[in-house]
C-alpha cells in the first residue's frame, strides 16, 4: 500500500503533513480538556473562586473553537489528498488498461479490471482520507491519554496496562475468527445468486419438466445455508461491544476503589480521580477506533496490491520503433497481403497451442476463408492478423512487413475487424460507426451501411445516423447490431477486412445479400487501385466456398488449404463439413 501511495503522492505530500498537524491541535485539546476540568474543580470549587471557574470555562470554549477550525483544515486536506490521488489512480489505471495487450486483458479478466478501477480505488480513497484524518488522532489519543494518566499517578496507571492489552486481544481474537466466516458468507451469497440465475435462465426447461417445486427447495436450501452462516458470524461479532464495555467499566471500578484509597492518603485529589476516569474512557474508545482503522487498512492494502498488479504490468506487445513501412510501399513492393510462416500461438495460461504450424500466403486483394469447428483456432488466426496477440513462434506478415515492425496504430488503422462478439457502445449510430475514423463524412457512413445491409433499417429510424444506441446496442435486434458492426469495420476504407463469424445472427437472405455487396465492394476497390483483402472466418461452408483460398482448421492445425473444389478432392475434413451442411448433390 505504501508503494502505491508513494507512487501517487506527488503534489499531495504537503496534505499528508499539514492535515495530521492540524489534527494534532484538536487531539491535544481533547487531551487537555480533562485536566482543565480537573483544575476547574480543584482550583475553582475547592477555592470557592467563581472567577477561576469562569476563566476555565472560557478556556474550554476557546479550545473548542480552535479545535474545530483546525479540524476543518484537516478534513479539507484529507478530501483534497484522497480524491486527488484517487482521481490520478483511476486515470493512470485506465490509461494502463488501454495500453495492455489482449493477452494481459485475458489474464486479468474484464470484471476484475472493472473492480480495480472502481471499488479498489474507492477503498484506497477511503483509506487515504482516514489516514490523513485519523491515523494521528486515535493512536495519539490512546497513547496520550495513557501518558497523561500515568503522569497523574503511576500506580493507578497499572489498571491501564491491564485493560488496554485485554481489549486489543479480544478484538484480535474476534477478527481472526470471523474473517474466514466472512469469506464463507460471501460464497454462500454467491451461491444464492447462482441458484436464482439458473432458475431464471432455465425457466423454460424447469417449467417444461414441471420441476418448479424442486427448484424452490433448492433455493430454500441455499438461502437457509447463507442465513445460518450469517447468524454464526453475528454471534461472534455481537461479543465485541459488550466485552469492550465490560472491560472498560470494570477498569473504572478498579480505579474508583484504588483511587479512593489513594485519595484517603492524600496523594491524589478528587479532581485527579475524575480526570483519571475520563482518560480511561477515552483510551478504550480510542482503541476501538484504532481497531476499526486496522480493518479499513487491511482491506485497502488488498486493494492496493490489486491496483499495483495492473500498473506494474508491462504490456506484452512491444511497440516497434517506426520502421517507416506504409501502404504505399506495400503496394509498390507487390508483397502478399498476408503471409503466415510457421505460426504457432499459445494463450497465456493455456497448456496447449491454440494454433500450430500455420503457413500460407494470400495475394493483395484476395479472399481467405477460414473454416472449422469451435475451438479449432479460426478466430485466433484473425486475432494474430490485427496483432491482438503476438505469435509464440513463426512470423505473421501483413502487407509485406512483419506485424511487429508495423507501428501498432498504423497497422490497426489499415485493418477493419468485425469481431465474433457483437458489441456496440452507447452513443449514436454515427458515433459507433466513426470508431475507426473519427472524421468520416456522413456520406461515407451511409456507404458502409449500404454494403453492410444496414442502410434500410437505419434510414427507417426517424433520427437516421443520430439514432441513439443504448449500452450494448440493446435497442437493436441481434441481426441489426451485427450489421452495424460490419459497417463500423468498413468505415475508413480498411485495406484488410477480417469478418469473424460476422453473419451468425443474419438470416439467410440478408447473409447472401451481404456477401454480394462485399464482392461488389472488392471489385470496385480493385478497379480504383486500392485492393481490399478479405478474411472470412466461419463455420458455414456457404460463407467460404467462394474464397480464393480456404483454410480448414482442426484442433489448431490447418488440415486443408486450397480452393473449395481442390479441398473437396483432397481434404477429408472439409468433405465431412460439407456433407453435414449441404446435401450430396450440391457438394459435387
Amino acid at each position: 500500500m505504501l508503494r502505491l501511495i508513494k507512487r501517487f503522492v506527488g503534489v499531495y505530500r504537503r496534505y499528508f503533513i499539514l492535515g495530521p498537524l492540524a489534527k494534532l491541535v484538536e487531539v491535544c485539546f481533547d487531551l487537555v480538556t480533562p485536566l482543565v476540568v480537573a483544575s476547574m474543580i480543584d482550583v475553582g470549587v475547592a477555592g470557592r473562586d467563581v472567577d477561576a471557574v469562569l476563566r476555565h470555562g472560557a478556556v474550554l470554549v476557546l479550545m473548542a473553537v480552535v479545535g474545530i477550525s483546525a479540524t476543518l483544515v484537516c478534513q479539507k486536506m484529507a478530501a483534497l489528498a484522497s480524491q486527488g490521488m484517487g482521481t490520478d489512480m483511476r486515470r493512470e489505471l485506465y490509461a494502463q488498461i488501454n495500453r495492455l495487450s489482449c493477452a494481459d486483458l485475458d489474464r486479468f479478466g474484464t470484471p476484475s479490471l472493472i473492480t480495480r478501477v472502481t471499488n479498489d480505488v474507492n477503498q484506497m480513497q477511503l483509506a487515504i482520507a482516514l489516514a490523513v484524518r485519523m491515523l494521528i488522532r486515535w493512536p495519539f489519543l490512546a497513547l496520550g491519554s495513557m501518558m497523561a494518566a500515568l503522569l497523574i499517578d503511576v500506580q493507578l496507571g497499572v489498571v491501564f496496562l491491564v485493560c488496554t492489552p485485554l481489549i486489543g486481544f479480544v478484538f484480535w481474537l474476534v477478527m481472526a475468527k470471523s474473517v474466514p466466516f466472512f469469506k464463507e458468507m460471501q460464497a454462500k451469497l454467491d451461491r444464492v445468486a447462482l441458484v436464482q440465475r439458473e432458475a431464471l435462465s432455465g425457466a423454460r426447461v424447469i417449467r417444461a419438466f414441471s420441476r418448479e417445486r424442486d427448484e424452490r427447495v433448492r433455493f430454500d436450501g441455499a438461502a437457509t445455508e447463507q442465513s445460518t452462516v450469517a447468524i454464526a458470524v453475528g454471534k461472534l461479532s455481537s461479543v465485541l461491544n459488550p466485552v469492550t464495555f465490560l472491560v472498560m467499566n470494570l477498569g473504572v471500578c478498579a480505579i474508583l476503589w484504588s483511587g479512593g484509597m489513594v485519595v484517603d492518603t492524600g496523594r491524589l485529589t478528587q479532581g485527579e480521580v475524575v480526570a483519571f476516569v475520563n482518560y480511561m474512557t477515552q483510551t478504550l474508545l480510542a482503541i476501538v477506533y484504532v481497531a476499526n482503522l486496522v480493518v479499513v487498512f487491511t482491506r485497502a492494502s488488498a486493494s492496493a496490491s490489486r491496483i499495483n498488479e495492473v500498473l506494474d504490468c508491462e504490456p506484452a506487445l512491444a511497440c516497434a520503433a517506426d520502421a517507416g513501412w506504409d501502404m504505399d510501399q506495400a503496394l509498390v513492393s507487390g508483397a502478399p497481403a498476408l503471409s503466415f510462416h510457421g505460426v504457432a500461438f499459445r494463450y497465456p495460461s493455456a497448456s496447449a497451442n491454440a494454433v500450430e504450424d500455420i503457413t500460407f500466403q494470400l495475394p493483395m486483394g484476395g479472399t481467405l476463408g477460414i473454416i472449422g469447428g469451435t475451438g479449432s483456432g479460426k478466430s485466433t488466426l484473425g486475432a494474430l492478423m490485427a496483432r491482438l496477440y503476438d505469435a509464440s513462434a513463426g512470423s505473421v506478415d501483413v502487407f509485406g512487413a512483419d506485424v511487429r515492425d508495423w507501428p501498432l496504430e498504423r497497422l490497426r488503422a489499415s485493418v477493419g475487424v468485425v469481431p465474433q462478439a457483437v458489441q456496440l457502445v452507447s452513443g449514436t449510430v454515427a458515433s459507433n460507426l466513426r470508431w475507426r475514423d473519427a472524421n468520416a463524412s456522413d456520406a461515407e457512413l451511409w456507404r458502409a451501411l449500404e454494403v453492410a445491409q444496414a442502410a434500410e433499417f437505419v434510414r427507417a429510424c426517424p433520427a437516421g445516423l443520430e439514432t441513439p444506441v443504448e449500452a450494448g446496442g440493446k435497442n437493436f435486434s441481434g441481426g441489426q447490431r451485427q450489421r452495424l458492426t460490419i459497417a463500423r469495420a468498413l468505415v475508413g476504407d480498411p485495406w484488410l477486412l477480417v469478418l469473424d463469424d460476422a453473419s451468425s445472427a443474419l438470416d439467410l437472405r440478408t447473409d447472401a445479400a451481404l456477401r454480394r455487396a462485399l464482392r461488389a465492394l472488392a471489385r470496385e476497390r480493385a478497379r480504383a487501385g486500392r485492393p481490399l483483402t478479405t478474411v472470412v472466418v466461419s463455420q458455414r461452408v456457404s460463407a467460404v466456398r467462394d474464397a480464393d483460398l480456404v483454410c480448414v482448421m482442426r484442433r489448431g492445425r490447418a488440415v486443408g488449404l486450397g480452393s473449395h473444389e481442390e479441398l473437396l478432392r483432397t481434404c477429408e475434413v472439409y468433405r465431412e463439413i460439407c456433407a453435414s451442411q449441404l446435401a450430396g448433390e450440391e457438394v459435387a
Binding site: 475553582g44 478530501a79 432458475a199 424452490r216 467499566n249 451468425s504
Partner: protein, 621 residues
C-alpha cells in the same frame, strides 16, 4: 456499498418484449412492470415488513427489550461513578463504607448491561438473517410463479439483484438500522431522565442546547447527502463508461480507439474529482461538527456545574454530580449523529423494500382453470386454429396461423429471423397464451388443460441449451429425477452422448459448472437431447442451431435428433437442409403469417418465397 449497483435507476422493462398474460391484456391494459404507478407509502411498506417479522416476533420483542434494558443500565453507570467520587472528598475524608457497595453495584450493573447488550446484538442478528432468508425465499417463489413473459421482459441481473442485494439492504437498513434508531432514542430519553433526576436546572442547560445539536447534525447531513448524491451520480456514469469500454477493450484496441476513450474518461474523472472532493469534505464534517457542539455543551455544563457547587445556586450540586453531568453531556449528542446516519440507511432500505414489494406484487401467471380436463394417452395430434398473438399491443406478431400436424408428423418451420417461428414453440408449451384462435392437442383446447399436463407431453431442445450446476446424471435425469443410472445411460447412449460422457473425469458423476462449464455447444446439446429421450414425450419441439458446430459432434447431434423424432409428432425450427427435406410438411413463415406449405419438392416447384430462400442459401454460386 457498491456505487455501481444503483438501487433506483435500473430500468426494469426492456422495450422489445414485455409480457403478462395474453388474455388479460387484450384491451390494451398496461403491461406488467416492476415500476408501479403509485409507489407504496412508507407506512404500507413498514406494515408489510412487519409481516415478515411476525414469525420471529419473539426475537423482535426480545431485541427491543434487551436494547432498552442495556441502554438504561449503561446510563446508570455515570451516576454510580459520580456518587463514588463524592465519597472521596480528600485526604482522610474517603468513606469506604459508602464507596465499597457503590463499586460493587457498579460491577454488577456493568455485567448486566453487557449481558443485555450481547443479547440485543444476538437477537437482532438472528431476526435479521431469518427475515432476510424468508424474504429471499418469498421473492424467489414469486419469480417461479410469474409467467415466462415476465422473465423474458426483465433483465435477469435486475431480478437477481432484487433477490440478493435489495433484501440485504433491507436487512441492514431496516432491521439493524431500526434497532440502532431505537437504541439512540432510548439513550436520549434516558439521559434526559437521569439528568433531571440529578439536577433540574443543570439538565435544562443540556436540554436547551439540544436543538443546536439536532440542527447541526441535520444541516450537515442534508448538505453532505446532496453532495454524496452528486458524487454517486457521476460515479455511476463513470462506472457505466468503464463497464462498457473495459468490457469491449479488445474492440477498443483493435480499432485504436484508446486515446478517444481516454479523453472521455478523463473528462468524467475530472468531474468526479470535483464532486468527490466536495462530498468527502462535507461527509467528514458531521463528526467534528457535533463534537464541536458537544464541546461547547461540555464547557457550559462544567462551568454551570462548578458554579452550582460553589454558590449552591440555582441548585446545590456535588463534585460527583458535576462528573455525572460531564459524562452525560459527553454521550448525549452521540445518538444524534448516529440517528442522522441511520436515517440515510433506512431511506435506502425503504427504496430497496419498494423494489422487493414491486416484485412480490407483480401479477402472477393465471392459474390453471379449476375444471382443467385431465389428459390421458396422447396421440400427438396438434392443431393451430387461426392463432393470433402479439408480445406488445402495438406490434402484431402472429396472425391467423393454421397448422395441422397429424400424429407422428414432422413439421419444419422455415423463415427469416423474427418471423415468429420461436413464438409458435412458446405458444405450444403455454409459456405464452394465444390471444386469438386456439391450439388443440388431440382435439382439446390447450387452454382448458393444466399447464403441467400439457408440458409433460412435450419434449423440447432449444438452441440455448440449459444445464445447471450438478452432475451429468442429474442434468440428464432432470425430467425424471427418479431415473436409475441404467436408464440415464441408456438415454445418453441413444443420444450419442455416452462417448464423451465416458471420457469425462468422473463419467456420469462429473459435476458440471454453471451453464455447463467446459462442454462444447454440441456436447451440451447432446445432453439436452438425452434429457428429452429419457422422458419419452409424445411431441417434440426442436430448435436447430443456426451454425454448425464441430463436424463430428454435429453429425452425432443430427443422428440424435433423428433418433428423437422417430415416431413422434415434431416441430422443428429448421436451418439444416436435410432436416427440411425430410419433413412431412414445410411451413414457410414470413412476417408472422404462413406464406407457403408443402414438401420440399412441391415448394421448389412452386417457385415462391421458399424457392428464393433455398437458392440464396444453398445454391448460390
Amino acid at each position: 456499498m457498491n456505487p455501481y449497483v444503483s438501487t433506483g435507476s435500473v430500468s426494469t422493462v426492456t422495450s422489445n418484449i414485455a409480457g403478462g398474460d395474453g388474455r388479460r391484456r387484450e384491451g390494451g391494459a398496461p403491461l406488467d412492470s416492476l415500476a408501479p404507478a403509485t409507489p407504496l407509502s412508507a407506512r404500507v411498506i413498514t406494515c408489510r415488513l412487519l409481516g415478515f417479522v411476525r414469525p420471529h416476533a419473539l426475537s423482535f420483542v426480545a431485541s427491543f427489550a434487551a436494547a432498552a434494558a442495556s441502554v438504561v443500565l449503561q446510563l446508570a453507570v455515570p451516576l454510580l461513578i459520580g456518587r463514588a467520587i463524592d465519597a472521596m472528598v480528600g485526604a482522610g475524608g474517603v468513606s469506604f463504607e459508602v464507596l465499597a457497595p457503590l463499586v460493587a453495584q457498579l460491577a454488577v450493573l456493568t455485567l448486566a448491561a453487557a449481558a443485555f447488550q450481547w443479547a440485543q446484538g444476538y437477537c437482532v442478528n438472528r431476526l435479521t438473517y431469518r427475515c432476510v432468508r424468508d424474504m429471499r425465499i418469498a421473492a424467489s417463489d414469486k419469480i417461479s410463479r410469474m409467467p415466462i413473459s415476465f422473465i423474458d421482459a426483465h433483465p435477469h441481473g435486475d431480478l437477481i439483484s432484487r433477490v440478493v442485494n435489495d433484501v440485504d439492504q433491507i436487512g441492514d437498513g431496516l432491521l439493524q438500522g431500526l434497532s440502532q434508531l431505537f437504541g439512540g432514542i432510548v439513550t436520549i430519553v434516558g439521559t434526559l431522565a437521569f439528568m433531571l433526576s440529578v439536577s433540574v436546572p443543570m439538565a435544562m442547560v443540556v436540554v436547551l442546547a439540544t436543538p443546536f445539536s439536532i440542527l447541526a447534525a441535520a444541516l450537515i447531513a442534508r448538505v453532505s447527502n446532496k453532495s454524496f448524491a452528486d458524487q454517486q451520480r457521476i460515479q455511476g456514469r463513470l462506472g457505466a463508461h468503464i463497464e462498457e469500454y473495459v468490457g469491449s477493450q479488445r474492440l477498443v484496441s483493435t480499432f485504436g480507439f484508446g486515446p478517444r476513450a481516454q479523453e472521455r474518461f478523463d473528462a468524467m474523472n475530472a468531474e468526479l474529482y470535483t464532486a468527490g472532493e466536495r462530498a468527502q469534505f462535507m461527509g467528514s464534517l458531521s463528526n467534528p461538527g457535533t463534537r464541536f457542539i458537544n464541546n461547547l455543551i461540555y464547557a457550559a455544563v462544567a462551568v454551570m456545574g462548578c458554579l452550582c457547587v460553589v454558590t449552591g445556586a440555582p441548585a446545590p450540586l456535588t463534585v460527583g454530580g458535576v462528573q455525572v453531568f460531564l459524562s452525560y453531556a459527553n454521550q448525549y449528542t452521540k445518538p444524534f449523529n448516529e440517528i442522522t446516519s441511520v436515517v440515510t440507511q433506512v431511506q435506502t432500505a425503504y427504496a430497496s423494500a419498494r423494489r422487493l414489494f414491486a416484485l412480490l406484487d407483480a401479477v402472477e401467471e393465471t392459474p390453471d382453470a379449476p375444471n382443467a380436463r385431465p389428459l390421458h394417452d396422447v396421440r400427438g395430434e396438434v392443431d393451430f386454429d387461426h392463432v393470433g398473438f402479439r408480445y406488445t399491443p402495438d406490434r402484431p406478431l402472429l396472425h391467423d396461423i393454421c397448422i395441422h400436424a397429424a400424429p407422428g408428423a414432422r413439421i419444419a418451420l422455415v423463415g427469416p429471423t423474427g418471423c415468429g417461428k420461436t413464438t409458435l414453440i412458446n405458444l405450444l408449451l403455454r409459456f405464452y397464451d394465444v390471444q386469438q384462435g386456439r391450439i388443440e392437442l388431440d382435439g382439446v383446447d390447450v387452454a382448458d388443460l393444466a399447464r403441467s399436463d400439457v408440458r409433460s407431453r412435450f419434449g423440447m431442445v432449444l438452441q440455448d441449451t440449459w444445464l445447471f450446476e450438478g452432475t451429468v446424471h442429474e442434468n440428464i435425469a432432470y425430467g425424471r429425477p427418479d431415473a436409475t443410472r441404467e436408464q440415464v445411460v441408456a438415454a445418453a447412449r441413444k443420444a450419442h452422448a455416452d462417448g464423451f460422457i465416458d471420457a469425462l473425469p468422473q463419467g456420469y458423476d462429473t459435476v458440471l459448472g454453471e451453464g455447463g462449464g467446459t462442454l462444447s455447444q454440441g456436447q451440451r446439446q447432446l445432453l439436452c437431447i438425452a434429457r428429452v429421450l429419457l422422458v419419452d414425450p409424445a411431441i417434440l419441439l426442436l430448435d436447430e442451431a443456426t451454425s454448425s458446430i464441430d463436424t463430428r459432434t454435429e453429425l452425432q447431434v443430427q443422428a440424435a435428433f433423428d433418433e428423437l423424432m422417430r415416431g413422434r409428432t415434431s416441430f422443428v425450427v429448421a436451418h439444416r437442409l436435410s432436416t427440411i427435406r425430410e419433413a412431412d410438411c414445410i411451413v414457410v413463415m414470413r412476417d408472422g403469417g404462413v406464406v407457403e406449405r408443402g414438401t420440399h419438392e412441391e415448394l421448389l416447384a412452386a417457385g415462391g418465397f421458399y424457392a428464393d430462400l433455398y437458392k440464396s442459401q444453398w445454391e448460390e454460386a
